[in-house]
Structures are given as C-alpha cells and as structure tokens.
Amino acid sequence: MSGQQLKDLFEAGLAAAAPDTVDVDAAIAAGRRRRRVRVGGTLLASAAVVVVAVLLGTGLFPSRGPDTTGPADGTSLQIPTSQWKDGDAGMTALAQGVLVLRTDGCLVLASDSPEMVVVWPAGFTAVARDGGAEVLGADGSVVARSGEQISLGGGESNVGVSGPCLGGPTPIFTVNDAPPYDRNVATATPATWTPVRSVDDLNGTWLPTVLDGVDVAGAVDLRGAQLVLVVRGSGLSARDGLCNYVEEGVQVEDGGRVVLASQSMTAVGCDRQRPGWPAAGVAAYDARSAHVRAAGGDQPRQLRLLAEDGKLLGEYVEVAPSTWNDSAAGALCLDALAKAPGLVDVTHARPTTVEAVRERTVGPSDTSPAAKPWADLDGAATAAWCTSRAGSTWSVTAVTADAPPVMFMSAGTPLGDPGTDGPPIP
C-alpha cells in the first residue's frame, strides 16, 4: 500500500465528521486571558497555583473572623426603588417567597421560580440587622426582614426603577403594594449564604444552574452529558464529554481564598460553547470567592462563585451522584465510576472477580482494553459488573479497585441487571 492509499484510509476514517463546534471567539478570549496571565503572572507561574482566588471580601464580607458575615447593625444598605407610592395605580401580580440578602448585597425573593430582585416603593430604605437586612417603609417602620416568607403585590416592570442590583441576569419584581405585607416569620428559611472556609465546605457533586447569567440547568452536550463539578478530598474535577480531563488539586486558604492547582482548569464551565451554554462559558478565571447555602426544605445545598466585585458568576446545586449503595459491589461501582465523565448513576451492581472479567474480554491481549493493567492483577481480586446511566447513555462496565473501568457495552436505551456472569455476548 502506498502513502496515498494510507491517506485514503485515513480519509475513510474522517468521512463521518461531527459538526464543528470550535468557537474562535472563545479561543480568542482564552488567548487574551493567557496573554494577561503571562504578562502579569510571574507570581502565578512561580507558584504554579492560584487561579480561583482572592478574598471574601467587599463591604458585606470582610475577610476573616466569625463576626464578619455582614456590616454592622444599622448600616444603610442600598436597595432599588421605583417611583410607585401608596395610592398610585399599580400592577396586581402576587409574588411569594423568602426574602434573601444575597452575598452581593441584593435583596431577592427566592421561591421555586427563579429568584427576583425586589424593587421597593419610593422612599423605602434598608439597614443591616443581625447579619441580614431590614426593609423600612417610607415612614421608617420595619416592613420586611430577610429570611421571612413574604407576599408582595406588583409586577415585572422596570419603568422608573433605579438603584443597585438592576440590569443583571436576575429578573426584577417591582412592588406596587403598600405595607403591611403578609409576612410569616415562623416558616421562614434561614437561606443564609456562608463563605467557603475549607475544602470540606466544597465537597460534593455539583451541577451548574446559572453561568454568566445564563440558565444552564439541564444543558447537555451533544452526547447528553451535563457538566459536573466534583470535589472530593483535596481534588476538584469538571467532568463531561468535553472537559473530563480537568482534574486539579484544590484547597481553601485562610480567609476563604479558593486555590486550584493550575490555571488550566475551569471551575464554572467548559471553555467553549454548547447548546444552551454561555457564549463564552468561562467565568472561573474571574472568580474570587465561593459561598454555600445549606440545604433546606426541598432545596438542595447550593454553591456560588463570585467575582471580586460581587457579581454572580456561577451557581450550582448539589446532587447525589447515585443512590445505589446497598452492597460492596455497588460501592465499588460508585467509587470507580465517580471518576468517569459526567454524572453517573449506578442502577445495578453485581460482584465478580478480575479473572471472570478477563474471561469475558474478547480480542487479542495486546489490543484489548482490559489487557493492561487488568492482566497484571490477581485473578481472584474483587471486581464488579455495573450498569450505569450517564445522560441518555446506558453502559455496562467492569470495575475493580486497581485498574481503570472497562466498558462492555453502551446503548441509548436502558440496560438492566448485568447478572452475576456479566453481560451477554451477542
């Protein structure tokens, strides 16, 4: 065969090309960041560390100490207001939720729907109180407090509104309703965001819900995989079909600085476009602090990454990677497949041995995926057959503690119990 024939062979392999998803704009943006890092990054280079960094800390969150979760009581807080006042004609939609003082200083109404920045009537003010906020009516009386369940009348109009927290990705709700409001302190959810102080605060499996102001909950790549951020021990990885190779050490320094092992990772999203994804899905390079909110009611634990100016860059919810854990085989599957790309849900697990897996592996020993390093293991060593689902793909995989998993089959439809002997050979 000539060189041309070999080239033709390669050409055959290239025949069914996938759609081109290369994003030149994003590449240029990333290239610019590299330039900046190079120019200003002598310290970065020598330390080979800090990427997501810096401090908790603008006015609302000084950098250290237990009493630094908010400004002193009575400190004036800026809130957005409209020109509406009692007696004016107004909108009559009803909004209900918990009034939350976000770490960026914005008062929002949080509910099952996307949270909304509350725009208060003319003359309303707010002050810091007990680490939260008190909203004062035009007459100076307290009309609402953060942490309360509250009902407000009004609508989503931005006519005549002014003040902070406007113009961002969070929708607004303009109150056209005079106090007293229907408030229920007894059912209020604390809903407090607390600064990340250690890696333990970050441990978990996280799915992004908002990145750069774009709702990405449920956004998947072309293979149906969601981006999953996993923090275990002292490692952080972003896993999906595109950036599953990102795996870095992570630590949280005194003062809340989150430090990653290199500048190449992205803690917020892949540095590229996907359907439903921000055009330039990179916010990690600008992230400066992390905050978590404890689970409450039906709400899972949440994680937020913020820029130095308090801008919300990314928001995540914690998910359990799998609920199948009632045997040693299940635990082995969970542990092994936790390292696989994407969010993996183990649905079936069966115990087996390394030797049994090797016997089921077809193909010459020098090319079989299981040949190395499974071939070097003790045949009696414990292994497991695992049926799992990642996105819309089901797989049956053999796992063991000391070798990479070996996928035996994959399908777009559910695969069931692999059985004690493993998957059937067609």
Partner: protein, 173 residues
C-alpha cells in the same frame, strides 16, 4: 479589531478544518478533537504576533496540537475514562457503534501507541517530511523512521483484527 486579530481570524478560518481532521486522527473523538483545536487556537492567539514574525504559523500550530494531544493522553485522569472502543456489542440497533470501515479505521488507529500515531498522522496524512516531522515532534529523524515502521506494523495488525486487510508497506524508512 486589531490587525493581528483580523489576521488570526483569517488564518483560523482557513486552518480549522485541517486542524480538526488532524486532531481527530490523533485522538479518535470529534468532541475531544474540537477541544484540542480550540485550545490550540487559544494558544496560537496568545502568541500570534511572535509566531507570525517568524514565518507562517501552520507548523507551530501543528506542534501545539500534537503536543496537546500527547499531553492529554498522558494526563492521569485520561486513564480513568472508560474505553471508547467497545469490545462487545449488544445489537446493531442498540449499540452506539457505527457500522462501516471509517470507525474501524479510527479505532485501529487508536490502538497504535500515541507517539507512533502522531508520526503516522504527520507523515502520511499531512504529508510532512521525515525532517519536518522530527522537528515538530522534537525528536530525531531516526526515531521518526523507527516509530513510523512500528506504527505501521501495529496499524496493520489492528486493521486486520477489524477485517481490513492492508499491506501498509509505505516508505517507512
């Protein structure tokens, strides 16, 4: 937009398709290939002025791309990913495997060790000379020859296992 950025965009538009194909042959996964190309473009842009002062940027881009592909395969977490080559299938209707020689060729190519594969791709897909291939890979011409020879032998065997007979007696040395 600066003149440099404009030049870069023009070059990227012309080169991306070739870069994607080369990346795919190197890694066997279109999505990863796009990632590699994206990263290559980012790195190229970050040094664009310097690179273009030294002449056409294509060779440097290939060097970046190949290094990224090789580096990716060396990353520890890369070894944690399930294999992309499925040794068994359940049925044609359910399996994710695509019928046809194309995927088999790519799968066979992935059986070739990454260093040898890079030589094969640069030499026989990109038609680069032994000298140029050696320069891009930062190795000796003798090593390129031996890697090509071994790579062809491995590829021949891997193709045969997939029912594709190929002599592959190209001028490896």
């Amino acid at each position: 937009m600066s003149a440099g950025e404009s030049d870069f965009r023009g070059w990227a538009a012309e080169s991306r398709a070739d870069l994607r194909r080369t990346a795919y042959l190197l890694c066997g996964d279109w999505y990863l290939a796009d990632d590699l190309v994206q990263e290559t473009l980012a790195r190229m842009f970050s040094v664009w002025d310097r690179v273009t002062r030294g002449g056409p940027p294509d060779a440097y881009a290939r060097k970046v791309l190949v290094n990224l592909a090789l580096d990716h395969r060396r990353r520890p977490s890369r070894r944690e990913a399930p294999t992309e080559v499925l040794p068994e299938r359940i049925s044609a209707a359910e399996s994710s495997y695509v019928e046809g020689d194309g995927p088999a060729v790519i799968a066979a190519l992935q059986d070739v060790p990454s260093g040898q594969r890079a030589v094969l791709v640069l030499r026989y897909w990109e038609d680069r000379s032994i000298e140029e291939t050696a320069r891009l890979l930062g190795t000796s011409e003798g090593n390129v020859k031996s890697q090509a020879s071994r790579g062809l032998a491995t590829l021949r065997s891997a193709l045969a296992q997939r029912g594709i007979t190929a002599e592959l007696e190209v001028e490896a040395t």
